[in-house]
């Protein structure tokens, strides 16, 4: 059929097809405005990395972690090593200011025309390099924080999942236990157990824990006993709502086992809440660790911790204020970064806040 013949009346308002040209394939493709398909996790990560504060906190944390890993390799001192010059203990190398050298070190440098690695944060009252002690202290804090929150994650999620999925009487009893544990004053129980364990238990033979000391065992124990309740409550709450979804019914009707349903349907759906809670648990654990170390119930000597360094620095506060400032700033930086990342994660992954 001829296109021209379609237009019968020249005054008609009917569209003249001749005036149009067919779209090319390329032009057609331009009309596809579909965004690339995204998952919940990808979407959350995108939002997380668009939050300037969170990115800044992540950069600070990354720098701190790199320093914690690299510093012990670069700095020629160890955290328990008292400074020696030519194999002799340098008794004057105590309480040096940052980047200051003791007289013997200066003499040594002039004599052999070599440079001694500087004491970036000075030295402590026994003549140990302070920088490396702060680095080790930060390591301890970070390790304790991460492991404690992982423990909370594991116990809390399992308990909450079982309680929420089982429902009924089991749920009732399990939640009453949580209620009671929730109202126990945590710091007092930590202190109590730390005091008692110090007397009764001996972990010095076990590799890593032995070095950290029995106090850390009691702290982990208390985290394992008490701190998971918050996580358990939230996971249970999530599961109670997820449980009502049709896909759970569908899974049940095809004969999926409860363990399978919990593991592959329910847990992935409350993953965002679990991630947020874990991120917020890390600074809480670091706080507790530094607090305990500060009152002398933390890691065993000579292993330093930021809390015990700050405590030791109190006696020389007038003359050597930097000894308090360095560990204190380290605690603040670590906790601040984790707080900011935790908040940003909550904003990025909490579907209820989506706008």
């Amino acid at each position: 059929m001829d296109m021209q013949n379609l237009k019968k009346n020249p005054f008609s308002l009917q569209i003249d097809p001749a005036k149009f040209e067919k779209a090319t394939d390329d032009e057609k493709r331009q009309q596809d405005v579909m965004a690339e398909s995204t998952t919940f996790f990808k979407d959350g990560m995108r939002r997380l990395f668009h939050n300037p504060l969170a990115v800044m906190a992540m950069i600070i944390l990354a720098i701190l972690i790199v320093v914690m890993i690299v510093a012990p390799m670069v700095v020629p001192y160890s955290y328990e090593e008292i400074i020696t010059v030519e194999g002799v203990r340098d008794k004057a190398a105590t309480n040096l200011a940052p980047f200051e050298f003791s007289q013997r070190e200066q003499a040594f440098m002039e004599k052999y025309n070599v440079s001694v690695f500087p004491h970036i944060m000075g030295t402590d009252e026994l003549g140990r390099d302070y920088f490396i002690r702060v680095v080790y202290g930060a390591r301890v804090s970070l390790i304790v924080g991460v492991f404690a929150s992982l423990m909370v994650l594991l116990i809390g999620t399992l308990y909450g999942a079982v309680s929420g999925y089982a429902g009924g009487k089991t749920d009732m009893i399990m939640m009453r236990i949580v209620d009671i544990l929730y109202s126990l004053p945590d710091i007092l129980i930590v202190i109590l157990l730390a005091v008692v364990f110090k007397q009764t238990l001996d972990f010095s033979n076990i590799p890593i824990i032995g070095k950290l000391g029995t106090n850390m065992v009691s702290m982990f124990l208390v985290f394992g006993l008490l701190y998971w309740v918050g996580m358990a409550r939230i996971v249970r709450g999530e599961i109670l709502t997820i449980k009502e979804n049709e896909y759970i019914l569908a899974a049940k009707s095809v004969g999926a086992s409860p363990a399978h349903i919990v593991w592959s349907h329910i847990i992935p759906n409350c993953l965002s809440v679990i991630i947020i809670m874990t991120a917020q648990e890390i600074p809480a654990a670091i706080f507790t660790e530094s607090y305990l170390s500060f009152i002398g119930l933390g890691v065993a000597l000579p292993m330093p911790s930021l809390g015990s360094l700050a405590n030791a620095a109190r006696s020389g506060m007038q003359s050597y204020p930097w000894k308090l400032v360095f560990p204190a700033v380290a605690i603040i930086l670590i906790v601040l970064s984790f707080n900011l990342i935790g908040d940003a994660m909550r904003d990025a992954f909490d579907p209820k806040l989506k706008k």
């Binding site: 009453r176 126990l184 129980i189 005091v195 008692v196 007397q199 530094s290 009152i295 506060m317 605690i331």
Partner: protein
Amino acid sequence: MGLNKSEVIKLFKYVVKRVFLAIITIFLICFITFFTMNAVPGGPFNSEKAKSEAVMQVLNERYGLDQPVPVQFVNYMKNIFHGDFGVSLTTGRDISDTIRTRFAVSAKLGGMAVIVALIFGIVLGATAALNRNKWPDRVIIFFVTLFTAMPSFVAASFLLMIFCIQLAIVPVWSIEDPSYVLPVIALSLSPMAHITRLTKTSMLDALGQDYIRTAKAKGVSMVKVIFVHALRNAMIPVITYVGPLIAAILTGSLVVENIFTIGGLGSQFVESITKRDYTMIMGVTIFLAVIMVTMNLLSDIVYKLVDPRIKLD
């Protein structure tokens, strides 16, 4: 308050349930503390000076330590109900007396810190919410973020270092001249930061509600809208924080008192830990735990009373 009968019954049931749970919790704390205390090797009379068998026997009999541990526990509980926590292992003084005198100091310090934290937290939080995304909001949130990342012992040490030692404008604490300024600031900083955050979020939430728009549309003055309509409703979440707030201030005061050398219950506690004075640790733990549990209970009950929208479960 206009509660009908079924609501009153529900509330009553809730209170009974919570009180029951609180009693179990407190009992559990006593139980844990007592049995962990007895798990520690050595008795209270194992001092440096060796005592003869006979003396030990007499002492143990006198203090009832020859009986099996569960019997001792029952006796200990009976004594606690009469306010008798036993005697200190290091000083030999009556623990309840020590707790009473020391707690008077701590309560004064803690009370001031609670008031300061509440007043400043609410004012700053409301200011931040009313100036959302303007400079006052940003400044307040900056400091709040900083203070939440600062443990109480760091804040206290810094304050002491800057104002007492480097600048020497505030005197160091002494019994004759008690200067509560710095310890109160140190104790209240982090709870204040929490209250500010809490008030800001709930105030923003309240300001976005329909009843605020209605009030504004009716021509209610801005002052009245803020104070009567918005702030009053924004206070509800803050009330729930009072329980944890008191717990936070009590735990904070354990180190803050120690740093400022204030002879309160907190420094007594830290002292007894370093001296391994077990009966004192137990006495103070139980005492503080009871306060914390009671405060949590009270703030939860008040919360339910204040906000009729909360479902009782």
